[in-house]
Amino acid sequence: MSLVRDILTVLSVTAGAFFFLAGTVGLLRFPDTLTRLHALTKADNLGLGLVVLGLALQTWSGPAVLKLAVVWLLALFSGATVAQLIAHRARDDRPGE
């Protein structure tokens, strides 16, 4: 049982790390603000979610899982808001529109 849990954790965290990596590459390589934001938010939210999932499997206690979930939700929420703000600003700043 604990072996299965460990394997799932490793898989989940590794997948999460991969999404972070992909997001970072996107941030660095994509051509403009909006596409960069796209890469960053999608990858980070998913990446963080997978990492949190992996860690939750390890702690397996109610309050700790709840705290981890709150961490993820808060990051999701503030990330989404900031992405919106940056996107608005980028659209407003775009010449000719």
């Binding site: 503030s78 808001t81 919106q84 703000l85 608005h88």
Partner: protein
């Protein structure tokens, strides 16, 4: 080499790179961003050296508040005339001086004695009468309480110094410009939803600080951040600096601390001594009020000097 040490090496390299970038970046915005990264790496290092209380403070103050303030300043000062780089002689002197200091510090660190002296045992032994479980909180609020009290006065003086930069006619007015509230903006939503959660988390950090990592300053920082968020979303305005309640809020923490300290003369036989059995409730009471004062002071420091006409 163990995995742990490998991780430490990696963190050190990250910290050095961020530090290098902070000094070497072409524009101050880049340097300020690098500084935030530096602060976050340092926070991780503090976790690695078993100092979670410091890690929280470093993340909140070092990276968060200081970094945010410096990023803000760098954008505001963007159009400032660029100074010419220092002359060759100055630079060479500076390199020599800083290399000398770094080398001396390194030498001194390497020369620290074995076995190292430590007050850890003494700090733990003195903890039971305070009723606290976190020795760092014990140091801050009991053993070295006077440092913490004076540190709050330092914050008030910094605030007074910041306010003193206002033009005479704006004295007593509100800091900063009024943020316009825009119902369609996602910031408004964030400003409405996040503060209740943030207040709970801030109070939680304060509350657990008695026994676990956390405490008045870390909690106060989170409260200040929530307040700032609501200000930025235009939901509330920064109060005018002449408001009596605001002044009272700022001095309440150190004021209560001082009163409790003086009361110690009468009830516990010494300044800043706590009467047996009442130590923990008194410390918690002081901490709660300190947290509120810290939140107010930090918000006002971020908001800057008054920029709007005082209320008539």
């Amino acid at each position: 080499m163990t995995m742990g040490l490998l991780l430490d090496f990696f963190l050190v390299i990250l910290a050095l790179a961020a530090g290098w970038w902070t000094i070497g970046a072409k524009d101050s915005f880049g340097a300020a961003v690098a500084f935030v990264a530096y602060g976050l790496v340092l926070a991780l290092i503090w976790v690695r050296i078993a100092a979670p209380d410091v890690a929280l403070t470093e993340a909140a103050i070092g990276a968060g508040l200081t970094g945010g303030m410096l990023i803000g300043a760098s954008t505001r000062l963007e159009s400032a005339k660029q100074a010419t780089r220092a002359g060759g002689v100055t630079r060479r002197l500076a390199i020599a001086l800083s290399a000398l200091v770094a080398a001396a510090l390194a030498l001194a660190v390497l020369g620290l004695p074995h076995p190292p002296p430590s007050l850890a045992a003494a700090a733990m032994a003195a903890l039971p009468p305070t009723g606290l479980g976190n020795p760092v909180t014990g140091v801050l609020l009991a053993y070295r309480a006077v440092d913490t009290l004076l540190e709050k006065v330092v914050l008030i003086l910094a605030l007074l110094g910041t306010w003193s930069l206002a033009p005479d006619r704006l004295w007593g007015g509100r800091p900063g410009r009024k943020e316009r509230r825009n119902a369609a903006s996602p910031l408004t939503l964030l400003g409405q939803v996040l503060p209740p959660i943030g207040i709970v988390i801030g109070l939680h950090i304060l509350w657990v600080g008695a026994n676990e990592p956390g405490g008045a300053f870390q909690g106060g920082t989170i409260l200040a951040a929530m307040w700032m968020l609501a200000v930025m979303a235009g939901l509330v305005d920064v109060p005018a600096i002449s408001r009596t309640w605001l002044r009272l809020l700022v001095v309440a923490g150190p004021g209560l601390f001082l009163i409790v300290g003086l009361a110690g003369f009468v009830v516990a036989g010494g300044f800043l001594a706590y009467p047996p059995g009442f130590a923990k409730p008194l410390i918690l009471l002081v901490e709660v009020v300190l947290t509120l004062s810290v939140a107010a002071i930090l918000l006002l420091l971020l908001a800057g000097p008054p920029e709007r006409e005082p209320p008539r």
